[in-house]
Symmetry: C2
Subunit: 723 residues, 2 copies
């Protein structure tokens, strides 16, 4: 390897975009034709191309923009931002080529050059869509050096500063950086409930009301603070309101094309009311999901309780695993089915931009996650523990009657007591083991898998004659490489990396945000169950932040550094969890707190449960209002919101100052004598005689003083008279 | 009267501001000194002055700005708006004098010239404050012709259009115009509950659940719609965010003066947290008010019920009026006392601008109004009717025991039944008679009073020798007018009008908004009690809108046309009433609906009341979210919000187009051949060799096609082998 000829560390990742074209499913002539069009399209926007073989039957087309083209694309993007009011800073006039401020700005421009439709100056390459259905993916290359440097940097820091978030933004764009900003804000704020959690653990009774209230308040403060933080960052990163200038997603269908009179813009119109009407379908979908998933979970739950606590027949040990197996088999199936429906619904709702589509879809998936994650705990807390001792004996009797002679399988001695610790155990199990298994699932398992796969692909392409091939689809094999197929040794390392990246999946930041939101949900909904949960989350999230960064670097294609002004509708999900928490946590405390008195005395405290919930919920509403008001007052005059306003002011002030100076000279100090004379002579028979009476200098004063003396004396005379 | 010399209809009201200086309380020398300073200050900013005698011991100083000064003030105000981002429209460059778009803009500039501190280019005349404590008021003169024309116009119209609201804004400024916009929006939307109210009256049972739900939904829609409308109007009138550029109110005390590095602005700093901490005092104030007013009202209520339904002794007829008299005497006293506390608290909260101060005060007064207006109804609905039959017999027994021999005064026959129609009668009485008496109190009584007073003042100044004088303070009297004191006959009509206006009170728009909000509260809280209420309100408000306009014209000084971007915190009051309504209306329906079953069967339905409230409140929260979401989606792309964005876009687009043309020519279509040659030769031993391999035209294509053929053939060969 002649390192001097191709030094990987010097690759200019900023201006490269890779198109991964696969021709496995088409015949040779079509493939050549499609490839030619691909090349032409790329070159027509001014991109330079290099083609290399990919793994299997695929090509990697490396597109590179000359510095001038990239600079002018960056410039045009900035102008567009300014045009749509995303930034108030006008790009420097007189120049049409700009150096980007950070790597992601270049890569975003590359993405636009490759992906945007031709009408907007791009090559219009839309992977897996339309005429590009054989383009597997388009992606920028990971800047491995920068990734590694930043990862090391993140590992060393306990808390991330704004500048660290900036560096993530510089690499992966604002949309992903917002996720890291969110997890970082959440992580830092977790210190508070961790601390109070330890105190509660030592000093407070189980299911403590005080701890529940404090945690609920913390949830509110965190959410309101994040809203401000998000706004602040969106201004810092110049992405506020960036959604408005996004291009249409390819699947968006519009009813009319409108050319606006006022601005000359072409708008693709799809009636808002129609979309809203279609969104209404989400309601039956939510009900259907709740019922189907709920029925499944309730069934499994029931079987589980029955087997573990009532059943005493043969194979008990095996049967105890039955529900778990049942759930493991059926749940993914139902879930997939429901997710397909969600995708179809979202497609039908016909969003204009990819972001909106993605958000709408994610919200529906959140709904499903919500049900599968929290419903078992709700069942334990509000059905199993309080009602178990009533329902299960009946169930037992029923079963004894049904089974007849086999009734000896039924555990018959004593009365049934549902296990009040089950709630706690379940929450601990779900949170602690859940975090660990998530970590393994997200990072370790895919890493092993992909390392193996990439080794295998490399091995196979180097030993192409072997005939057993567990390859992805057609199980084809490349023949002995033609001279064309053999890599230039100086490039081989670079190409190997690129080829591996071409097979990596695309990163979806929503999944990671969803995970954090679900975690937050445990705190909001069930905090009083086990006050040490936040510590676990705190530790987990410190690792999670770094491991998620690592995950993006090694397990996914480098994401297109798309911009977004926040985490979108997750704010609403968090607010929903917060609100539901004000009910759920209160109910948990009410039912399980106070040494579980109800458990001894029957269900008397159910009477007062609605009142507890009513109070708790209204405290929540009041708190939220107060916190939002207070933070709003404190926050609106700080940070980048203020900075932006100040910048606008300064910019315009300069302008004012120039004018001020000019005006000052012209300001008429008073009516000039000549002017007054003129007026008097002109208007003496006019209508404005009133204003001509006291035009001489001091005339008003003389008249006024005279009046005061006259009137005042009058008053005094009167006084004297009266005395 | 020589009309030809002074034609009142031709007075240029736009450029006149009147300073009403009274020297009743000071000696002659001080008065002259103060007057001299006043004149100097006015003239120092370039105002021309004319002095005339006022009524009693006062002077009217007429200040008039020359056209150039006014124009340059208007210009500077526009520049300031642009500087602070209130408007995006830059004032025409190269000019420093502008004609205003409407009368109020001139008058506002006059107001600023007279009232603003000298550091901001005004004369610094702050009535009744500091060294100007003897300045009774400063005010512009009513443009009586325009007032009359607009009033006639309003009288003819059934619905006001935006242009009609514009005309009100043109006369009285945006702050007052927002009140009219609010009442107009409310008026129009009242048609819906009026219509459903008639239907409910005919077809639905009393206390109908359906009507309650529909009205609650209407309340939500109205409020959300108004929020959008307000935003829309604030953009239409170029006042969005105008609060930020308001000047300090004279009483505002600051801890530090900060000169901002970034903008060079001087800021007067008072810590936000301190203000918020002081605002916390509102909570004990609210409790104290609730307890003191609540105790009084509950006491009066109790006495009233007792006398009318239990007492049978002598003087019953007279005694029945006792509670009303008691309330009439004590309530204003307590109310005044509480309002004084509210004023002190608000002063202590130390708001920077007069608007913020006014709003904070109004909110506290709203709280008091809320208690005195609605508490009696709440007592009737939720205490008297449901519990009367339990409490009153006990009360009776107690009294019989206490009175001993006089116990024959107590109505003793039969069991007591509280009157379930009392709620309905009370609501009807309070709304219908309330509206009528309000109308009389607001318009008719003050009109008569002021007409009489002004006649009396005019009469007295023409017959100054009479000695019985019910004058305002010192009961002084003017002597026989000196020549100086007698009016020029041509001016006398004008001066009489100005003198009368100088004695009129200042208009406070908050009182009128408060009235409307309280009215809305009846609908939100008690709509199911009597579904015909909205019709009464509809009729009342049609008149109210016009009579309020008339009221401003004849009973108040012309208000300084201050700008504001909406009705401020009343939005929160409306939201609060809406939310409370979701509880109150549900409770009323639950307790009084379904043929009052509970009334027969005892209090069984109290069990389920919390559940009814819970459901109703959450339906409300859900509705509100849906309505806000839907209207937000529909509205954000319409009206002036969109127009503003489009204008910004168009403005900036022009700029882009120029640059676009320039850029297009420069765009590098592809790497030129020479460029490629140069690169190859330069970088052949460099690091970027990768990009030099396929530089010839069509090289990429040749390589790619070759690769496809090679790989595809390989695949096909493999296939053939396998077959």
């Amino acid at each position: 390897m002649t390192k001097s000829l191709f030094n990987q560390s010097a690759v200019d990742y900023r201006s490269i975009y890779v198109v991964h074209y696969s021709f496995e499913d088409v015949d040779c002539a079509t493939a050549i034709e499609e490839f030619r069009v691909l090349l032409q399209d790329l070159q027509s926007v001014g991109l330079h191309t290099e083609v290399r073989a990919g793994y299997d039957q695929s090509l990697l087309v490396f597109a590179k923009a000359p510095r001038e083209l990239l600079g002018s694309t960056v410039y045009k993007s900035r102008v567009k931002d300014w045009l749509f009011g995303i930034t108030q800073e006008q790009p420097p006039p007189g120049r049409t080529v700009l150096r980007p401020e950070f790597e992601a700005e270049d890569i975003l421009s590359m993405y636009h050059l490759v992906n945007w439709p031709k009408s907007l100056g791009g090559a219009g390459i839309t992977p897996k869509h339309g005429k590009w259905k054989n383009v597997q993916s388009i992606f920028p290359l990971h800047n491995e050096g920068a990734n590694r440097a930043l990862l090391v940097h993140l590992g060393k820091r306990v808390f991330l500063k704004l500048e660290d978030l900036d560096r993530i933004r510089d690499l992966f764009g604002a949309k992903i950086a917002f996720y890291f900003a969110f997890i970082q804000t959440y992580l830092v704020s977790l210190f508070f409930p961790s601390f109070t959690g330890i105190l509660a653990w030592y000093f407070l009774p189980n299911y403590s009301m005080a701890y529940a209230i404090i945690t609920s308040l913390w949830c509110i403060v965190f959410l309101e603070y994040w809203k401000l933080k998000e706004l602040d960052l969106s201004i810092r990163w110049h992405v506020k309101g960036v959604g408005s200038l996004k291009v249409n997603r390819p699947n968006f269908t519009y009813e009319q094309t409108i050319i606006e009179q006022s601005t000359g813009r072409v708008k693709h119109y799809f009636p808002k009311w129609k979309r809203i009407a279609r969104q209404v379908l989400t309601i039956p979908f939510a009900f259907a999901s709740l019922i189907s998933l709920g029925a499944l979970i309730a069934l499994v739950f029931g079987v589980e309780v029955f087997i573990s606590e009532v059943y005493e027949g043969p194979f008990k040990w095996y049967l105890e695993y039955l529900p778990t197996v049942l759930l493991a088999v059926v749940l993914p199936w139902i879930n997939n089915f429901l997710e397909d429906i969600a995708t179809t619904l979202t497609e039908y709702e016909n969003y204009r931009t990819a972001d909106l589509h993605e958000m709408a879809l994610t919200q529906k998936v959140f709904l499903l996650n919500f049900i599968t994650t929290y419903l078992p705990i709700f069942l334990t807390a509000f059905v199993y523990v309080p009602f178990g001792s009533i329902v299960i004996p009946h169930l037992k009797t029923l079963l004894q009657y049904l089974l007849g002679s086999h009734a000896n399988f039924i555990h018959s001695e004593g009365t049934f007591h549902s296990d009040p610790d089950r709630l706690r155990n379940e929450v601990i199990a779900l949170t602690v083991t859940g975090q660990i298994s998530n970590f393994a699932e997200e990072l370790i398992y895919p890493y092993i898998k992909q390392t193996a796969e990439s080794w295998w692909r490399a091995y196979r392409s180097e030993h192409p004659t072997i005939s057993f091939l567990p390859s992805s689809s057609n199980s084809n094999i490349t023949t002995q490489p033609a001279p064309l197929l053999s890599d230039d040794p100086s490039e081989s390392q670079f190409l190997r990396s690129a080829r591996n990246q071409s097979y990596l999946p695309q990163y979806n930041v929503q999944d990671d945000i969803s995970e954090m939101v679900m975690q937050f949900g445990y705190l909001a909904l069930f905090s009083p169950v086990w006050p040490l949960i936040p510590i676990g989350f705190l530790i987990n999230n410190w690792i999670e932040l770094r491991s998620d960064f690592l995950k993006i670097c090694i397990e996914y294609q480098r994401p297109a550094p798309v911009r977004l002004d926040g985490i979108g509708p997750w704010i609403d999900s968090l607010a929903f969890l917060n609100w539901l928490g004000s009910i759920s946590a209160a109910a948990v405390v009410h039912l399980f707190g106070s040494s579980m008195l109800w458990y001894e005395t029957g269900l008397t405290s159910w009477y007062s449960l609605p009142i507890t919930i009513f109070i708790s919920e209204h405290l929540y509403l009041l708190f939220r209002w107060v916190v939002a008001y207070t933070l709003g007052k404190m926050g609106s005059h700080q940070g980048h919101v203020k900075k932006e306003k100040d910048e606008m002011y300064s910019r315009r002030r300069k302008h004012l100052d120039e004018l001020e100076a000019a005006t000052e000279a012209q300001r008429p100090k008073n009516l000039g004598v000549e002017e007054r004379e003129r007026r008097r002579s002109v208007r003496v028979n006019g209508t404005d005689l009133f204003w001509t009476k006291q035009t001489e200098d001091g005339a008003s004063e003389r008249v006024g003083v005279g009046l005061i003396e006259a009137l005042h004396k009058g008053g005094e005379i009167q006084h004297t008279k009266e005395e």
